[in-house]
Symmetry: C2
Subunit: 293 residues, 2 copies
Amino acid sequence: MLKDYLKSKRELVDSKIEFYLDRLEYPNVIAEGMRYSVLNGGKRLRPILLLMVLDLYKKDLELGIPSAVAIELIHSYSLVHDDLPALDNDDYRRGKLTTHKKFGEAEAILIGDALLTHSFSIVTDETERVAPEKVLKIISMISRYAGINGMIGGQMVDIESEKRKVSLETLEYIHTNKTGKLLKLPVEIGAIISDATKDEYTALEKYSECIGLAFQIKDDILDIEGDFEKIGKPVGSDLELEKTTYPSIFGLQKSKEILKEVVQTAKKSLEIFEKERVQMFLELADYIAFRES
Amino acid sequence: MLKDYLKSKRELVDSKIEFYLDRLEYPNVIAEGMRYSVLNGGKRLRPILLLMVLDLYKKDLELGIPSAVAIELIHSYSLVHDDLPALDNDDYRRGKLTTHKKFGEAEAILIGDALLTHSFSIVTDETERVAPEKVLKIISMISRYAGINGMIGGQMVDIESEKRKVSLETLEYIHTNKTGKLLKLPVEIGAIISDATKDEYTALEKYSECIGLAFQIKDDILDIEGDFEKIGKPVGSDLELEKTTYPSIFGLQKSKEILKEVVQTAKKSLEIFEKERVQMFLELADYIAFRES
């Protein structure tokens, strides 16, 4: 069952994150701040996606643990920097003070920098039994997907797009890059480590693109009709920021239809595999699209 | 002659930086901001150190160009973030507006993040004819020396140490990490690429540690008796910030003596090499210690 699967994988990921970060000691504010920013009860969706691909190929999860943790560290650093006063200026995340509120603004900038930098140390120093050529390919992919032509690019265009109407093309650029690239990344890394065939790689890539888009459309929908208690942020904040979203372009009803179609496409892209092998992927697609938070 | 050598190498490094960064296009503010922050007339001391080691071993400089550029990008990102209002709050650097003054604060945070992230792309995607195992070793070293146990750690302790007296031990931690690690890094990477023997590696490492320390002591001295026109920042700013420096602990005269000793040690560490092979290294040690800016 998906729920139990996610829980056991989340516990595994959390224990590995703790293991890697617990060694860091000095300067204390950076070490503490890194742990505080990452160990925050997150869903660990990105690292779990990587482990799911390894499970699909019955590979030893240890082969991908360092990459999985690195991606989560990068996800965390992006949240630390996004929350800063100069960007989204958020005081709380998941009911806890944001990193800059807890440790100070200069500290949060450096804590974010340290998380990003350390993610590369973890991949290079902790990955075992993976050919060096593959590890280099993984590092290349991480830096491209997290950089100007990936997450940072999406974040920048997202900021530029506040308080004005943008085209569907621009909205898709933001979705594809700001959140999409970091959801594709673990799936592709898992496929690299597992020696997926070209067709399998393409299928998994397509799946990850679809669930990334589904994730965003669902986020947009939750901002309109979600439950504050569950989503942990004020409902209607996109409207207030006059953000362009799927519902603002297509309307709520049509957005829900698009979401269903995207989930169907995600599932269909995996038909290349026997159904029982990808059961968790199929359930995860539904989970992402129909979650309440 | 050192001056001509540095000039030709600086031009080479600048042309390579332009070559790599000119391809970046979108989002424009990030691409432009990255170029603005790196192409600023810097001395390129760090990349040149790497190329000097390759020259010492008569290696093709192209083997180390991507790593050299990556280190300069990391140096630049650290300056972009250091200049932010939450940290040093500087409006000018080398007579030009700092990145956040030119592009905005949110933008500068993301531009710095993009420079750091992109540096890893350059090493993985542009390095040719270097064994993958060596490239991984280089990436590992970059991330460790630039991270919590290196540059970022030094920067954090430096911030914590403002407006209060710190011990010589803490001052040495700051020097070793904040600037020292990023000066050691290119020398060690050059030695790795060149297959230096263990003894040669140790000698070069020692040299780089000494010139890093000399660089800092000289900086402290310049802050007291430098020429504003030449150093490009107000003389006496350390005193104003009540910063602990070599002169504040040892006095100006003794600091100058220590500086001379450190330069002697730097030169002596290279006695393992024939003198004419390391002529530029010997001249560079003097240049760093007796520069006027």
